[in-house]
């Protein structure tokens, strides 16, 4: 397990987390993608040191062979992430078509409850509402 790979994993996690904390859905999706790359790399690293191709034949010492299981797991994880990312992109498109923005908004019910606690006398547009509530 090399220090460089570990560094790459931590950078991917850091950048991904930062992007996920943004309000724009496209950034969140890119952030999720980066984090899942980091995770996949981490699983490969968990398989231990590199070795010969994992083909069992006569005269191959199993100790010198790379661990194939993490690679199989990563393949499954990549496929799942791929599918879910496609779904999220479709959702982002849908959200943009419905509302004209890809920002993730607050929960309207939460806003209603918050308004009861801090009453606002005049109706305010959502954008300003945001400031008032926070």
């Amino acid at each position: 397990m090399s220090l460089v790979s570990l560094g790459v994993v931590s950078v991917l996690f850091g950048v991904g987390t930062y992007l996920m904390l943004q309000r724009a859905l496209t950034r969140i999706i890119i952030g999720l993608g980066l984090v899942s790359h980091g995770v996949n790399l981490l699983i490969v690293l968990a398989g231990g040191d590199r070795g010969a191709p994992p083909l069992l034949a006569e005269g191959v010492d199993p100790a010198t062979v790379a661990d194939p299981l993490p690679q199989a797991m990563v393949l499954t994880a990549i496929v799942i992430t791929f599918g879910v990312t496609a779904l999220l992109l479709a959702l982002a498109l849908r959200s943009w078509m419905l509302t004209g923005t890809d920002e993730v908004e607050d929960d309207p019910e939460d806003r209603r409850v918050a308004r009861e606690v801090h009453p606002v006398t005049e109706p305010v547009p959502d954008v300003i509402m945001h400031e008032v509530v926070e």
């Binding site: 996920m20 859905l25 969140i28 999720l32 984090v35 899942s36 995770v39 996949n40 981490l42 699983i43 690293l45 968990a46 398989g47 231990g48 299981l69 993490p70 797991m73 499954t76 994880a77 799942i80 599918g83 879910v84 779904l87 999220l88 959702l91 982002a92 849908r94 959200s95 419905l98 509302t99 993730v104 908004e105 929960d107 309207p108 019910e109 939460d110 409850v113």
Partner: protein, 491 residues
């Protein structure tokens, strides 16, 4: 018998594929969906009987021996949960078919529902950490699509936060798998249980905490529950009902399975009891602040999860018996309550409590269906919630954990309060104004909801045999050797 394990997962998946092939022939789709879910229910019952008589049923998929291949296991605990879940999946499917147009509007409804069924079955039956991830993902991806199709801006907004939170949880789950594999060199749960005992206790403890966080997000534990009341209420009734009844409970199931199997410890766990108490309290307080039937019920899911974790926190046979009893009761009652909430919405055209009223006179049958479920949720005797809560409180008193007992009783009272709120606003008083979509709930949905109410009453009537079965399951949980030897020895 072991062939039932893979087929309980494969048959609904196969049926899902077939519903896609038959295209827009609704009658064929319905027949396929009903038979797929019925098969899983039948398999679950057969597995329960077999596991109760002769110990855990184990299948090694592909014939590879235990630590190498993928293992499927049905012990008493997983068979109980699978049986109740499959029964609810069937009842809700009947409701969806009865709710005119719900499945006719969306040609893929049955395919998604069957994949969800297979995902739930796989998550409950798997004996392998990575396969558990795959089972979870099957379940979740089906749920993402069920939440979004043919919906408006509100659902899209709610689904986005649901999907993103669950993806973060899935990423953490993979991190957990990487760490666990790195530390123990296996992903087979039975094998991992043995190896975790040999490694550095600090590493093993860290893995245990990470598991609690990952599955805590899925189960909606304090403080990781924020996503739940935000996303559930916006979905169509049958979808919300099945999510509310099953998805979080699968998370609880996995928490109980991993904490007892992988990290066995003696005596009550203060951490788990604290989380349990906080989950109950925050959930019920959230429910009181709400003003919509489905949102109130969503917050109650969180609060009720606390009771199950309380049973686990005692880490004793009686505590786990109560937890298993609670899961059984809760899956049924919660599914039923959401179905009734759907009936209220259907009759009134809205679920907002300031606009409903007078349903008792207009549609007494809905009130008749609501009452036993609501009282059961609050734990009023003689309904099923009482049996489960009594078992929890008794064990708490025996162990001298007075504080958590007091919290759980107070939360029960507040639950009753918010059920009263729904009752008085929706069923009593002046008839409310009817919303645009108000209509009459058909016979199909009423029968499906009635069936759930009958099952919930049956939990009370057959409480004694159920308690005995749960006690045997709990004893198995506290003795991981039963599970480990069933998986690793022979098969």
């Amino acid at each position: 018998m072991s062939w039932l394990l893979p087929s309980a997962i494969a048959v609904p998946l196969l049926a899902a594929g077939l519903t896609a092939l038959v295209g827009r022939r609704l009658a064929v789709q319905r027949a396929l969906a009903l038979s797929g879910v019925t098969f899983t229910l039948g398999a679950a019952i057969a597995l329960l009987i077999e596991a109760d008589r002769h110990g855990p049923v184990v299948a090694q998929v592909g014939g590879w021996a235990a630590p190498i291949g993928i293992t499927l296991v049905a012990d008493r605990f997983s068979a109980i949960v699978l049986t109740v879940s499959a029964a609810m999946l069937l009842a809700v499917l009947a409701y969806a078919i009865g709710q005119l147009g719900r499945d006719a509007l969306d040609w893929w409804f049955h395919a998604k529902y069957l994949v969800l069924t297979a995902g739930v079955a796989m998550s409950l039956l798997t004996g392998d950490l990575f396969n558990l991830f795959v089972g979870f993902e099957m379940m979740l991806i089906a749920s993402y699509v069920l939440l979004t199709v043919r919906t408006g801006p509100a659902q899209v907004r709610a689904t986005i936060s649901y999907v993103v939170i669950n993806l973060v949880a899935s990423a953490l789950f993979l991190v957990l798998i990487a760490f666990a594999y790195g530390a123990t060199g296996t992903v087979n749960l039975a094998d991992m249980a043995g190896r975790l005992a040999e490694i550095d206790p600090a590493v093993s403890e860290g893995l245990g905490l990470l598991m609690l966080v990952v599955f805590g997000i899925k189960a909606g534990l304090f403080p990781l529950f924020m996503w739940l009341p935000d996303s559930y209420p916006t979905a169509p009734t049958p979808v919300t009902a099945i999510f509310a009844g099953l998805l979080t409970k699968v998370g609880v199931f996995v928490i109980i399975r991993t904490q007892t199997l992988l990290f066995p410890s003696e005596g009550p766990s203060t951490l788990l009891l604290f989380v349990a108490g906080a989950t109950m309290t925050v959930g019920v307080l959230g429910a009181i602040a709400q003003n919509d039937v489905k949102r109130i019920l969503s917050f109650h899911i969180i609060s009720q999860i606390g009771y199950m974790i309380m049973g686990l926190g005692f880490l004793s046979v009686a505590g786990l018996t109560a937890a298993i009893l609670y899961i059984t009761h809760h899956i049924v009652v919660k599914t039923g309550l959401f179905l009734v909430g759907g009936l209220v919405e259907a009759e009134q055209g809205t679920g907002a409590l300031h606009r409903t009223g007078g349903l008792l006179h207009r549609r007494p049958i809905v009130a008749v269906l609501f009452l036993p479920l609501a009282l059961s949720l609050a734990g009023i005797p003689p309904f099923s919630g009482f049996v489960a809560k009594l078992a929890l409180v008794q064990e708490g008193v025996v162990l001298g954990r007075g504080f958590i007992v007091a919290v759980s009783l107070a939360v029960g009272l507040l639950t009753l309060f918010s059920m009263t709120k729904i009752w008085s606003a929706a069923f009593w008083g002046e008839p409310g104004e009817l919303g645009e979509s108000a209509g009459r709930a058909g016979a199909g949905v009423l029968i499906a909801t009635g069936a759930v109410v009958v099952i919930s009453l049956a939990v009370t009537v057959f409480a004694q045999p159920l308690i005995e079965l749960s006690a045997r399951a709990a004893a198995d949980l506290l003795d991981p050797a039963v599970y480990i030897s069933a998986v690793l020895g022979g098969g």
